[in-house]
């Protein structure tokens, strides 16, 4: 079962995740200006919300994490020396 955490300190209430989610998992709490999870059971873990969130406020737990074979480990090793 997917669990979604919203970091309330990081969420800027832009509503991008609300608009982007195809299954209406999120709603914008207008009073507090933050995203709230309303239909967690309909989340299919596409992670579009992660990609669109400008403040990386979302975290998904217990999901199938797709393989990321596109990551070039050589580039990562080089970046790790700098960052």
């Amino acid at each position: 079962m997917v669990k979604i955490k919203v970091d309330e300190d990081a969420c800027v209430g832009c509503g991008s995740c609300v608009e982007d989610c195809p299954n209406d998992v999120y709603e914008l709490d207008k009073e507090h200006g933050k995203t709230v999870v309303v239909k967690e059971e309909d989340c299919m873990a596409c992670l579009s919300c992660h990609e669109i969130c400008p403040s990386q406020a979302l975290e998904h737990n217990d999901i199938h994490v797709a393989k990321r074979l596109y990551i070039d480990r050589k580039v990562n090793r080089a970046l790790n020396k700098i960052i």
Binding site: C46, I63, H64, A66, K67, L69
Partner: protein, 182 residues
């Protein structure tokens, strides 16, 4: 760059015993192929416009029909999808998906049966991300054609696959089949 050259004797062989490469070689080959395929996809789109989708779709459909010949014929869509999952393997790992308020995986509408498929692992998506190309482009039509081709072959029906949503971790597609033959 220094290359570790393999030097030795070689005789023609029926079944090769060695691949002459380790995991790093496979990784490098995979990345080169991803770049090639991404480059081909964008060039195809540049030259043929929307026709690129049809070309890639046709290529996928042909592969799907070939794969479908290895499967047992059935009228049961869930069984057919299970078999296709085995053939597509880990690199195109998918599951049937339904919203929480829907009872079963399949829905009926005007003599058509629809089922939502959630593709979690997908080599096409990885190739697109490797080359910085947007999703839902011509390359996505390869899998589209593949699924339709395989379903048509196994169930002897007409099918179509629509991309409902695409994301960095999973893509939702709807497979619709029309009963009553091709």
């Amino acid at each position: 760059m220094e290359i570790d050259e393999v030097r030795g004797d070689f005789k023609p062989e029926i079944i090769p015993k060695e691949t002459q490469g380790d995991i790093d070689d496979y990784e490098e080959a995979l990345h080169v192929l991803m770049k090639f395929i991404g480059s081909m996809s964008s060039a195809l789109e540049q030259v043929s416009g929307r026709g690129a989708n049809a070309i890639v779709y046709q290529a996928g459909k042909r592969m799907g029909h070939e794969a479908g010949k290895l499967m047992e014929k059935t009228d049961d869509i869930e069984k057919a999808l299970g078999e296709m999952g085995d053939i597509l393997g880990k690199e195109f790992y998918f599951e049937m998906w339904k919203p929480s308020d829907q009872e079963g995986y399949t829905t009926e509408n005007n003599g058509e049966t629809s089922v939502k498929l959630l593709f979690m692992d997908c080599v096409v998506r990885q190739a697109l991300r490797r080359t910085g190309l947007p999703q839902k482009g011509p390359l996505c039509y390869l899998l589209y054609g593949y699924m339709v081709g395989a379903v048509e072959e196994v169930m002897d029906i007409k099918g179509k696959l629509d991309i409902d949503h695409f994301g960095p971790n999973a893509c939702l597609k709807t497979l619709t089949i029309k009963w009553g033959g091709k």
